[in-house]
Symmetry: C2
């Protein structure tokens, strides 16, 4: 179970021991916060020795960076994948929100760590992640600008609108749980409709 | 400065020493997380001895509860204040969002602790806060239902719509900073327009 979950969360990470440590890190950080978690806690949650952890991650900060970078890269990939399509802006926005919201609902524990422990990253690592965040915002702004140019969207301020679109999706990670009674996919579809209306389009 | 800030944040709390401890708690929890902060850290940030802290709060959890309860009570008060007016639903929603968003922007550090450290509350205290949260959601849903009944709003699912309205406001605390270049009040107004459109009304 644990092994297949970590492989599902980080298919791009090898070997499996590194993924298991990332999963143990996510669980520990989500439960007690980054600062209250030791590398010993994480290693033991992954069934390894602290020395084995250092083989894969030189520090607790390096582990957090791996989790944070991967989470941001995955969301950037899904936004990029849709943003560059030839579809009309309304359709691109619908897919971006549906995918982005479903990602944050499905991976809500990972997403919470990714979103709430940003300040704990060392400066250089923070800049790498901040750059991924800027690229995500930039793509979303681009779709809104296209929609405004083509008369599909009406917004007072593109920057605020893009922020609100992403904010709605990110916050899903805070409140979503398995008890929500709505699948990530269904929630993504509903949020896509809400967002399109927010941007002045008819869903 | 510190004294006047704590008095502004918690006008209902007495004496001033208790407010200073709450402010020191907010700053410490925001920086390092609840679990990594000791009562000694908080007392020393407030310029007091740990013994002096215990005069006002019997435990770190009691301090977190005071911060969390007060934050939720303040937001409930502002939502309640508007929700019970005789204004039409569109106008009530506009004011609720404007006030709720401005509160989360202005008090973003307090709001982050209030929103992100909920799980650290002991069960009984958690239930008190959860009840305040349910009352806030209930009021927002009521305004949406009124708007739907009067033909001002069109939503697919009232519960999801209420969740999205509050979610947009809460997430402001995560990303807002003094460098945002927009006052809490101006942001509140823009978000009110975005929200009204999201609910199918014309701003």
């Amino acid at each position: 179970m644990t092994i297949s979950l970590s492989a599902e969360l980080w298919p791009e990470v090898q070997p499996d021991a590194a993924r298991r440590l990332m999963l143990a890190g996510v669980e520990s950080f989500a439960r007690r916060g980054y600062h209250a978690t030791t590398t010993r806690d994480i290693a033991s949650a992954a069934g390894m020795s602290p020395a084995a952890l250092y083989v894969h991650f030189p520090s607790k900060a390096a582990l957090l960076f791996a989790i944070s970078k991967s989470g941001h890269q995955q969301t950037l990939d899904l936004v990029e994948d849709v943003a560059k399509r030839a579809d009309e802006p309304r359709e691109r926005m619908r897919r971006i929100v549906a995918d982005f919201v479903a990602w944050h609902a499905r991976r809500h524990t990972v997403a919470r760590v990714v979103q709430y422990e940003l300040q704990a990253l060392p400066e250089q690592e923070y800049q790498v992640v901040a750059d991924l965040r800027r690229r995500i915002e930039h793509l979303v702004r681009g779709v809104i600008e296209d929609g405004v140019a083509q008369g599909q969207f009406v917004v007072a301020d593109v920057k605020t609108a893009a922020r609100a679109v992403l904010s709605l999706g990110v916050d899903v990670a805070r409140w979503y749980s398995e008890r929500t009674g709505k699948t990530p996919k269904a929630l993504g579809r509903e949020y896509a409709d809400l967002t399109l209306r927010m941007l002045g389009a008819q869903p």
